[in-house]
């Protein structure tokens, strides 16, 4: 069984982002970029399925500009077999990404597509569900457990009220949540090996999909900041402040 893992390169989650002074967006020049942490979890899940003999091949795909090859190389070093870069300098939005992935699925015929439940830059939380809709496949979002059984996959989903377990017919799309696994660290020899693994670059135009952005960003601004409050010395003072000043208890 082939697994396709879609990954996005985002500003590293340790970086404190800067809003551009002209309010057109967030500064991405000279900022550390990494694989979206949720996609890293998706990749780890795929690699483990391969290690346990269930998956035969793990393909990673990413969409964007050429520099994201570095992130794809890291994905290969983690254990993916080959990588595909769909190259475009058009701003990638979830619906367009889902359409490009649909075209990749048509070429590669995976039985399972894994993606992170959200990307930590735009926090949209859409791409997996959109892809499942376009393919007319079942979707298992926010997965904290994935169990493959013959032609079905059982997914435990993290929902607002607890957990939900569903079963999907294969092929299917699964999006991953934090508690699915802890991604491995990349070992040095694997970085060397990854250089020899195939990384194909395909121009987005070749997939014949309309990816014109349909959402326009008018403005990006800073949120209102909370003022730093005061330090209280002890519980006495805390209770007094909450009662008489804040009036919340």
């Amino acid at each position: 069984m082939k697994i396709l893992v879609a990954i996005k390169q985002v500003i590293d989650h340790h970086v404190a982002i800067q809003v551009k002074l002209d309010n057109t967006g967030v500064e991405t020049n000279n900022v550390k970029m990494s694989i979206n942490p949720f996609d890293e979890i998706a990749l780890e899940a795929a690699i483990r399925l391969q290690e346990s003999g269930i998956a035969s091949e793990v393909i990673v795909v990413s969409i964007g500009e050429k520099p994201i090859q570095t992130t794809l190389r890291s994905a290969l070093a983690m254990g993916a077999d080959r990588a595909l870069l769909i190259q475009t300098d058009v701003e990638t939005q979830p619906l367009a990404v889902a359409k490009l992935l649909q075209a990749v699925v048509a070429q590669e015929n995976p039985q399972l597509v894994l993606l992170g439940k959200q990307a930590i830059d735009d926090d949209s939380h859409q791409t997996g569900q959109m892809l499942a809709a376009l393919l007319n496949w079942g979707q298992g979002t926010n997965a904290s457990q994935i169990i493959l059984k013959d032609d079905e996959v059982q997914v435990t989903r993290e929902i607002d009220t607890g957990l939900e377990i569903i079963s999907l017919s294969l092929p299917a799309v699964i999006t991953t949540d934090l508690r699915l696994n802890n991604p491995r660290y990349i070992k040095l020899p694997n970085i060397m090996k990854a250089k020899k693994k195939p990384l194909t670059i395909l121009a987005a135009e070749e997939l014949d999909v309309d990816i014109t952005p349909r959402l326009q960003t008018c403005k990006v601004e800073l949120p209102l900041r909370r003022k730093t409050g005061i330090k209280v010395e002890n519980i006495n003072e805390l209770i007094t402040k909450l009662q008489t000043e804040a009036k919340v208890i």
């Binding site: 982002i17 809709a133 607002d160 800073l222 519980i235 919340v248």
Partner: protein
């Protein structure tokens, strides 16, 4: 403009997040609410009484006992043609079904809307709330998910009773060959729900054990509140996943938030920034949470929390 709000419920009661979505919908146009469920008359009736609701549509069938995205999307999409906007709350329910609906309609979705600027322009947080984007789209139908904490819940209106229309489903048990419900493990609790509790006591890795979390439950009960946690605390097994607050967990805006043994990573702060009053108890005077707290107490919780609980119990 006509707006369809997809109601979220458990077949008996409406989720408060839907009432916030109705408030957002009222800013856009005429509001219809769609209730899909099984034996869900009560839900339809209570929504018919909500201020600003013009009509309630109900689809009641046993195939809707569980809310599978595939079944719901196939049911909702054919009903959308009269509407300019389709809304749901940005809860795990809305996040699951709305992008599927948007893609089937070939329109974009705007997630987690916190403000409506006009019928085609919306504000939403990006980068864990460290920036606010204003976005617009010319797509024929606007699909939006609404952040509950950004809109007051719509109220029951005295005397309002919107017409309730029942629609027959064209789907059968066999329509959805893609997914099947197996079971739900719900964390039933007597406490208020985290997403709309007026007081939240949250614990982090600094609580050290699951047993220590009991103290937070006792404090929450004393204040009539709910208990939340950081990702680190959930990962460590101190609290269940549905208590995680933050960028990738729940977004809350209580009157009072008390964070204990929580460092204040941006991913956690993303979920609490709209709280009215933030109290932080942390032994490290450099913990980032102290920068956003209204009241901070630099102390070991083991030395102060039992005292706080006792004082509240005694009516201070």
């Amino acid at each position: 403009m006509s707006v369809l709000v997809i109601a979220e419920h458990n077949h008996q009661t409406v989720n408060s997040a839907t009432l916030s979505a109705i408030t957002a919908a009222k800013q856009l146009g005429i509001v219809n609410v769609l209730v899909i469920g099984y034996h869900c008359e009560e839900v339809a009736l209570s929504l018919a009484k909500v201020e600003g609701v013009e009509q309630v549509l109900v689809i009641d069938n046993h195939i809707y006992q569980h809310f599978l995205a595939e079944t719901l999307a196939d049911t909702i999409v054919p009903l959308t043609s009269h509407y300019t906007h389709i809304l749901a709350a940005a809860s795990s329910f809305g996040k699951n079904i709305m992008p599927r609906i948007a893609a089937l309609l070939d329109v974009v979705q705007v997630s987690d809307v916190i403000a409506i600027e006009s019928t085609d322009t919306f504000k939403r947080p990006i980068y864990a709330g460290n920036a606010i984007a204003t976005l617009c789209t010319t797509d024929k139908i606007k699909v939006l998910t609404i952040r509950e904490t950004a809109f007051e819940p719509a109220m029951m209106a005295k005397g309002n009773l919107a017409p309730i229309h029942t629609i027959q489903t064209t789907l059968t048990e066999k329509t959805n060959q893609l997914s099947r419900f197996i079971e739900q493990q719900l964390c039933d609790s007597e406490r208020p729900e985290l997403n709309n509790a007026s007081v939240v006591v949250a614990g982090g890795r600094g609580m050290q054990t699951k047993e220590n979390f009991q103290l937070l439950y006792a404090l929450a009960d004393q204040l009539g509140g709910a208990v939340g946690a950081t990702r680190a605390a959930v990962d460590a097994g101190f609290a269940p996943n549905d208590q995680q607050i933050g960028q990738t967990g729940k977004i809350i805006a209580p009157r009072l938030y008390i964070g204990v043994g929580i460092s204040g990573a941006i991913q956690h702060l993303a979920g609490i920034m709209d709280s009215k009053v933030i109290v932080a108890i942390n032994k490290d005077e450099n913990a980032p949470i102290l920068e956003v707290a209204d009241y901070s107490l630099v102390a070991d919780w083991q030395e102060v929390l039992p005292d706080l609980l006792n004082r509240l119990k005694m009516g201070n």
